[in-house]
């Protein structure tokens, strides 16, 4: 009976997995009990553990959600009955007895005003039958000398130890909030770096294109008009302000405009081959990340080669990734020169490649940088591998349609 064989196999596998899991848990328990140490050591471990658990929720400031999560650990750390975290705007998050919410704001404001931990005895909390009296200690949280909120611990009675501990915890919380601010400014810096690296349209290209267009104005006005519109398309895409990401399809469209302008200069000497898998067209990529590769191929690969050459652009589907490559059969690049350029040496040639490489590494991590295969006289192949799944990033949508000049439906 194959059915029963399968069943037995499944049951066996499940039992095996369970046995392994039980063994692992037992082993962990045994190891843990051996290493626990003295009571004092255990208390230290416990405190550090609670502090580290609370820390990760404090990095984003004392917002409501984070405060709720951190409050639990902080209350355990202080061993008080109830704990309130008050943010600078006066919002109160209570962990423990909700009745303290009413007085927490006032206590926090007083502590903030004095700048030191304040103890208040016999505060009435609650209403009606459940009303009772309790003690409280409030400590201000200050970052860079500015108030960042306050922490209020309720216990009956408040002992000197708790007052001291609350003050220390408040300072520790302040340090965490500052660290969080540091993280945020580091992320902002990285973002600014990506923006600053956003490829710039090259002045050479503008100059060359305008010259090429000028040469057509008398001989072939229709072509000149086409080229001016193409130039407008290309610059509008390149100069757009919003969004750091785009789709492969948009990027290809801009490459099309770019190549039309270049072909006005090159004529038949420039051939382009495309191999595009339609599945990857919707993939999100950093804004202007493929066009500079094509520009690099034209300017450094084919411009100085006699008789022009061929550029091959491929976009392929590879599981959860999209593979994009730009290849030319031009003069190639000296690998040592290229290495120096990519490593960020003197800004000179290949600044476009370095720029794209740096942005890809910044956004997707070091394993997603550009891969360049080249040698002198052997042409150049530049590849990149981008994950398809980027739920955190959205391609900025195409801008408003062009004025109706009949060129919309090409």
């Amino acid at each position: 009976m194959p059915e029963s064989t399968l069943l037995a196999a499944a049951a066996g596998a499940a039992a095996g997995a369970l046995a392994v899991a039980v063994m692992l848990v037992l082993r962990r328990l045994v190891v843990a009990s051996k290493e626990l140490g003295t009571d004092a050591e255990q208390a230290t471990y416990q405190t550090l553990h609670l502090a580290s658990r609370a820390a990760k929720h404090l990095r984003g400031g004392i917002g409501e959600v984070d405060a709720t999560r951190a409050g639990r650990h902080l209350r355990a750390l202080l061993g008080c009955e109830s704990l309130a975290l008050v943010d600078p705007a006066g919002g109160v998050t209570v962990e423990g007895d909700e009745a303290v919410r009413a007085v927490a704001g006032r206590l926090a404001a007083e502590a903030d005003a004095s700048g030191r931990p304040q103890v208040q005895r016999r505060i009435r909390i609650g209403v009606g039958d459940t009303a009772r009296e309790t003690d409280a200690v409030a400590a201000p949280i200050r970052t860079d000398g500015r108030p960042a909120g306050a922490i209020v611990a309720f216990a009956a009675p408040v002992r000197a130890g708790l007052v001291r501990a609350t003050g220390e915890v408040a300072e520790w919380v302040a340090a965490q909030v500052e660290l969080g601010e540091l993280d945020a400014s580091r992320a902002a810096l990285a973002e600014a770096e990506v923006r600053a690296l956003r490829a710039q349209i090259s002045p050479h290209f503008i100059y060359n294109s305008l010259n090429a267009i000028a040469s057509f104005i008398n001989t072939d006005p229709a072509e000149a008009r086409e080229l001016v519109l193409e130039f407008a398309d290309f610059t509008r895409y390149s100069f757009r302000r919003h969004g750091d990401f785009t789709t492969v399809a948009e990027e290809l469209r801009s490459i099309d405009s770019y190549l039309r302008l270049e072909r006005a200069r090159f004529g038949d000497r420039l051939t382009v081959t495309l191999q595009i898998a339609p599945e990857v067209l919707s993939t999100v990529v950093p804004f202007l990340s493929i066009q500079p590769l094509v520009e690099n191929a034209v300017r450094h690969g084919l411009e100085s080669k006699e008789g022009g050459g061929r550029i091959t652009i491929t976009a392929g589907d590879s599981g959860a990734f999209a593979e994009l490559s730009v290849e030319d059969d031009g003069v190639g690049i000296d690998p040592t020169v290229l290495e120096a350029a990519l490593a960020g040496g003197a800004p000179g040639e290949h600044v476009g490649l370095r720029n794209v490489d740096a942005r890809l590494r910044q956004v997707y991590g070091d394993e997603h940088g550009l891969v360049v295969e080249t040698n002198i006289g052997a042409g150049t192949l530049v590849r990149m591998r981008v994950p398809k799944s980027q739920p955190g990033r959205m391609a900025a949508s195409a801008e408003s349609p062009r004025p109706a000049d009949g060129r919309l439906e090409r």
């Binding site: 051939t271 599945e279 959860a320």
Partner: protein, 490 residues
């Protein structure tokens, strides 16, 4: 049956699929076609591709076989398989496309901000994929045995090897066109024989083997449906479609949510047309080939009927066409599944490298092969139906609640998926032994979806409710992104 026809048809389809896969992309375009190349996949193409990937052995062979065996109850299968896309259209297609996630595990991680939720989802996706491939391989075994006389394992092995090699060698790079081609091949391979057979028997030759009353007895009609089983089956099929890994990946090819919806509508139309033909085959079988109405045999109905009704070269030609269509079904569904499974496995276990993808592709075709060789098929439509029940009880609650309920937390999702997996898994694997002991529960174990899905949803909701602190921070931003339509693109 002449084995030469079988060999020729099988080899031809295998070659055609591999060639389109490898060279479909190599059709180079010159610059004048730039705009064409950067044009996104049209909803029609994508819908055909989804249809090609979706129509598996269960649809191509299984439905006709099941109609032959059980009568009108089997009609619920094509209805459910198609209507699943209605649920997809209403609840999932557009928001999922807008999420920017490529696979279900990606979606889970982005929505719930939890590595553990992602791991559980990945595991389920892999298990579902493997068990969905098994019936494809069993269908191949059956087809090879009936049409060439070779032993069954040859068919399973051949499909597994072809799929593993093609996917691992990167032959699925322009998968949309391969799958779209497979859909139209499958449709033709069933539609042409049905039309020719109907024309032939319309002339009264050969005569039906059973009278109308014997072939279509009232006992097998819609009047005698078991309500519980039907409802449970519909729950499984309607909701199971939502979680199929290979189908959701295809929606990523759509440029935006609107195109995703349009694609789904076209898929609905295409599937509705397609399912007319296996159904017609089933009815013809009841009247003209009642002798093969045995479990394990009935699925071959589509393969043997043309030759029986029209002996001679025309019948052989039709048989070759049907065999080709059947192999297209096995290959396309399995390769679509292997591609998405390999993506999930390589990303979660092997670091996302190209080499990892290859290893994962081979692994995801050979594990199902072992299972297919170790077990005997009792009915293709039925076993695929069980995979749908498992999907409906595990991934579907997480997906729907993830898209439509802001209260979902990682712990809730994990608890719900585990509950669904354990309950429906136990019912599917252990159903036979348990119902041997307690016969009363047999229907509940054979069609578990009607109770496992609500339980999984209930557990998800209750655990999430109790875990309010666990609400992901980015919930509001993410849900806004899912539900706000994109600005109009040109």
């Amino acid at each position: 049956m002449n084995p030469a026809i079988g060999y020729t048809a099988i080899v031809a389809v295998a070659l055609a699929s591999a060639l389109i896969g490898f060279y479909g992309l190599r059709v180079s375009r010159t610059t004048s076609d730039f705009y064409v190349a950067s044009r996104r996949v049209r909803p029609w193409w994508n819908a055909s591709a989804i249809g090609g990937e979706y129509l598996s052995a269960a649809s191509f062979l299984g439905i006709a076989g099941l109609i032959l065996l059980t009568g009108s109850a089997a009609l619920w299968f094509p209805i459910g398989y198609t209507a699943g896309y209605l649920m997809l259209l209403l609840f999932v297609a557009a928001p999922l496309r807008r999420s920017g996630a490529y696979t279900i595990p990606d979606f889970t991680e982005a929505r719930l901000e939890s590595r553990w939720a992602r791991r559980v989802t990945s595991l389920l996706v892999i298990v579902i994929g493997w068990f969905y491939i098994v019936p494809q391989l069993q269908g191949a075994a059956l087809t090879v045995r009936i049409t060439t006389g070779l032993p069954s394992w040859v068919g399973s092995l051949a499909v597994a090897v072809i799929v593993a090699v093609v996917v691992a060698a990167g032959g699925m790079r322009s998968i949309t066109f391969v799958q779209a081609f497979q859909f139209w091949l499958k449709l033709t391979a069933l539609a042409v024989p049905v039309v020719v057979l109907l024309l032939a028997i319309g002339g009264g030759d050969p005569p039906a083997q059973l009278t109308r009353a014997d072939a279509f007895p009232a006992a097998a009609g819609p009047g005698s449906l078991d309500v519980y089983r039907t409802v449970s089956l519909m729950v499984a099929l309607l909701l199971g479609t939502l979680g199929l890994p290979h189908v959701l990946v295809r929606f990523y090819t759509n440029p935006d949510g609107v195109a995703a919806r349009r694609t789904t509508v076209i898929v609905l139309v295409l599937l509705s047309v397609f399912y007319l033909f296996p159904t017609a085959f089933g009815f013809l079988g009841r009247a003209f080939a009642p002798d093969i109405a045995q479990p394990g045999q009935a699925d071959a109905l589509v393969l043997v009927l043309p030759d029986r009704l029209i002996p001679g070269p025309v019948g052989q030609l039709l048989t070759a066409l049907v065999i080709a269509g059947a192999f297209a079904a096995f290959l396309s569904t399995s390769s679509g599944l292997v591609v998405s499974l390999a993506g999930v496995i390589s990303q979660d276990l092997l670091g996302g490298s190209v080499r990892g993808f290859r290893i994962a592709a081979v692994a995801s075709s050979f594990v199902p092969l072992v299972v297919a060789l170790a077990t005997e098929s009792t009915g293709l439509a039925g076993s695929v139906g069980l995979v749908f029940a498992f999907t409906a009880s595990t991934l579907c609650p997480m997906l729907i609640l993830g898209i439509w309920w802001r209260g979902l937390t990682a712990r809730g999702a994990i608890a719900g998926m585990t509950t669904g997996a354990v309950l429906s898994g136990a019912a599917i694997l252990g159903g036979a032994s348990i119902s041997a002991l307690v016969p009363e529960v047999r229907p509940f174990l054979e069609q578990p979806a009607a109770w496992t899905v609500p339980l999984a949803v209930l557990v998800t909701v209750l655990v999430s409710r109790g875990d309010r602190r666990g609400l992901p921070r980015g919930t509001d931003a993410f849900l806004t992104r899912l539900h706000v339509p994109e600005p109009e693109r040109r």
